[in-house]
């Protein structure tokens, strides 16, 4: 019998605020953090994004980090989220705890600024801060000591994959607790990248709508504290909910597009259900990947129909509120799913008007309150068809 993995803490930073209380308020009200670019230096100021409403300097101040210290934006957000998650869990000694971070853009937001300088021997401290693992280690330093630290990078599903590895790590008995999730800042590099793919909406995105016109990029960081039930009980921790199951599958269809049958998404969700030992009808809410692009939302809808048949659970995408925080998205949405589960509400797709013709699926539009939620599913899909899904359940 595999060990039961529970959640004893969460921490979150995104376009809709800092901390879980701010998120709970914004989600219930349906307040979007997507708007005009004000921190990222780019000429594409007509593209709306979901920025964390703090400059690097302000984050350094909040964290008590010297203004001149060499640190990129991703770890700054990561440190804020990690601190909250650790405090929430009450874990003070991390010396036998794992930290698994999902990220892809790494320190690009500084590299693109200083790239030409680098070759002239200027600002070279940022060269070693560029790779994904560098950011992870800067975040890990917040607590001085972890027993196991690594970085996963599967583009937009990175954070859910770190949840999956954390679950496996605890089930194997290697650690009793693992802090998992992801962090990612906006960069000119990937804003332009997504722009060349012509999938950025010029307005606030509208997931699962017939008229959807692309995604809004976002940024942020979010972590959840996974712990074996024995360990959480032994230290009298406040157990929030359970990580009931998870699945990862590859669409193996195209580098950046999803297959028309949503094969990878379908398999990831199916594996998660099997792992959780649940039937499709036991899922009460799906926090979908729902980016707002024509391709993703259609394929995800098809995969949801394949899995759930006639009885489609409540589903929505919260990306019109937070923007698509790429590698951090799965962490942010895991925390949102947990907040929904614990507070019995379903956040909505505020912009929604008319369903996708091919499927006719109706997402939740306005936040539903007082819904009895037992099991919620969180989907995250990445470039290359790296699709992952996880399920959180109430402990009754």
């Amino acid at each position: 019998m595999a060990k039961r993995v529970v959640i004893t803490g969460v921490g979150i930073v995104s376009a809709i605020g800092v901390g879980k209380e701010a998120h709970l308020r914004a989600l219930m009200k349906g307040e979007s953090g997507v708007g005009k670019i004000s921190y990222l230096q780019t000429k594409h100021t007509d593209i709306p994004v979901g920025e964390v409403k703090m400059s690097d300097e302000e984050m350094k101040l909040l964290l008590g980090i010297a203004s001149e210290s060499v640190i990129t934006r991703t770890p700054l957000m990561g440190k804020i989220a990690l601190k909250e998650a650790m405090q929430d869990s009450g874990i003070t000694d991390a010396s036998r705890v794992a930290f698994i971070n999902g990220t892809t853009v790494g320190g690009m937001e500084k590299s693109e600024k200083y790239y030409m300088d680098f070759f002239e021997g200027k600002n070279t401290d940022y060269i070693a801060a560029h790779d994904c693992g560098a950011g992870t280690e800067m975040i890990a330093e917040t607590f001085g000591k972890f027993d196991f630290v690594t970085t996963l990078s599967t583009a937009c599903s990175s954070a859910v994959n770190s949840i999956i590895m954390g679950g496996d790590l605890i089930r194997s008995g290697r650690v009793e607790a693992a802090i998992v999730g992801g962090a990612e800042s906006l960069s000119k590099f990937h804003l332009n990248g997504f722009n060349t793919l012509m999938i950025l909406d010029r307005k606030v995105c509208n997931p699962f709508d017939a008229q959807r016109n692309g995604l809004n990029l976002g940024e942020g960081a979010a972590y959840i504290v996974l712990e074996s039930e024995e360990s959480a009980k032994a230290r009298n921790a406040n157990i929030l909910c359970e990580l009931k199951g998870y699945g990862n599958a590859c669409d193996a269809f195209h580098q950046t597009a999803s297959s028309p049958t949503g094969e990878g998404a379908y398999l990831a969700m199916k594996k998660a259900l099997e792992d959780a030992g649940l039937n499709p009808e036991q899922i009460d809410y799906v926090n979908a990947h729902g980016t707002g692009t024509g391709n993703n939302d259609l394929c995800e809808s098809v995969s949801i129909q394949r899995l759930f048949g006639e009885k489609i659970p409540h589903f929505s995408s919260t990306k019109s509120l937070t923007g698509h925080a790429t590698s951090a998205a799965g962490g942010i949405e895991a925390v949102i799913s947990i907040l929904a589960l614990l507070n019995d509400f379903v956040p909505g797709c505020c912009q929604f008007q008319s369903p996708i013709e091919e499927t006719g699926l109706m997402p939740v539009k306005d936040c539903l309150k007082n819904v009895d939620l037992q099991n919620v599913m969180n989907n995250s899909f990445g470039f290359g068809g790296n699709d992952s899904s996880c399920i959180f359940s109430k402990i009754r």
Partner: protein
Amino acid sequence: MRIFIRSAAQISIQNPLCDEWFENPISYSQIHNRSIDPDFKAFIPVMEARRMGRVMKRAIVTSKSVIPEENRATLDAILTGTGLGSVEDTEKFLNALLKNDEEMLPPSNFMNSTHNTIGSIIALNFKCHGYNLTSAHRGTSFDTICFDAYLQFLKGAKNILVGGHDEMTADYFALFDQIGFWKKESFTADILKESSTKGTFAGETAVSFWLSAEDGGDSLCSILGVDLLYKPSQQRLQESLDTMLAQNGLSKNDIDAIVLNCNGDVENDTISREVAEAILPNVQQLYYKHLFGDSFTMSAMGLYISAVCLHRGEIPAHLIYKNGAGNKRPRTLLLHNHYQNKDHSFMLLSV
């Protein structure tokens, strides 16, 4: 648990897709080196190859070389370690971005720039819908993936492809030169061993392994344990090794050699030697980066050379870093890797 390495393939600065390095290694005295590529046409249709960077082509070739056609679609997992993914594509997109002031950019370079492009292009090629994961954690990217493979086998996986892939472009080489990654002076493999200066020399990595829960009768060797540790004390390293040995009913006396990541960088090598002396005093020490250069995932080459030595029951003299106790026909090897003395890993291998 015993995981069998059914086959392994490498493309590096030694002759590719073979083990000529074992008898006749090529020696290098240049600091920036690119791999000796095989004829890609024999493995990848020309039209398809045109859309791929070198790191992807090499990954496809080494992956195809180790996984028989009938096992490709049904792999339980495709696991990839890469420090920086497709650097060539990332640099092309970044240079265009800066040069063209955010206009007229090549989408394909962006699409190929994410680290998971390598693992997903293998899945696409193999039509494999299994678990697919990429780790990008500095010098232990590949080690993380081996650790995850271990977790997947614990969960009942039967066949897994693991790979370590990194390339070294001119720009990337120049940037890392700025922060002291490379030697300033010319060198030879012998000098590397006694080096008292900072820096190493650059190679590229493309190594793939077919890992299986079953022996199949033709395995190179088996993996008995994998562990990753962050900023461990000597005591913690010791504890990790003891646990791994105990789980396999082995003792330290069974270990015939410790394989180190020594690369000629005095700071790196001092740590490696200290770890070796502390946990396995007097046991013979092996190294491999003097033949292959260094990259974020060069530890994959460490696993490769160890598997070959165990399979052949022989340690070539050129791999010996320091003589010591241990069978010259090795049966059990311990691999130790570390990155800047923060990330450490162990892998325990046996025949």
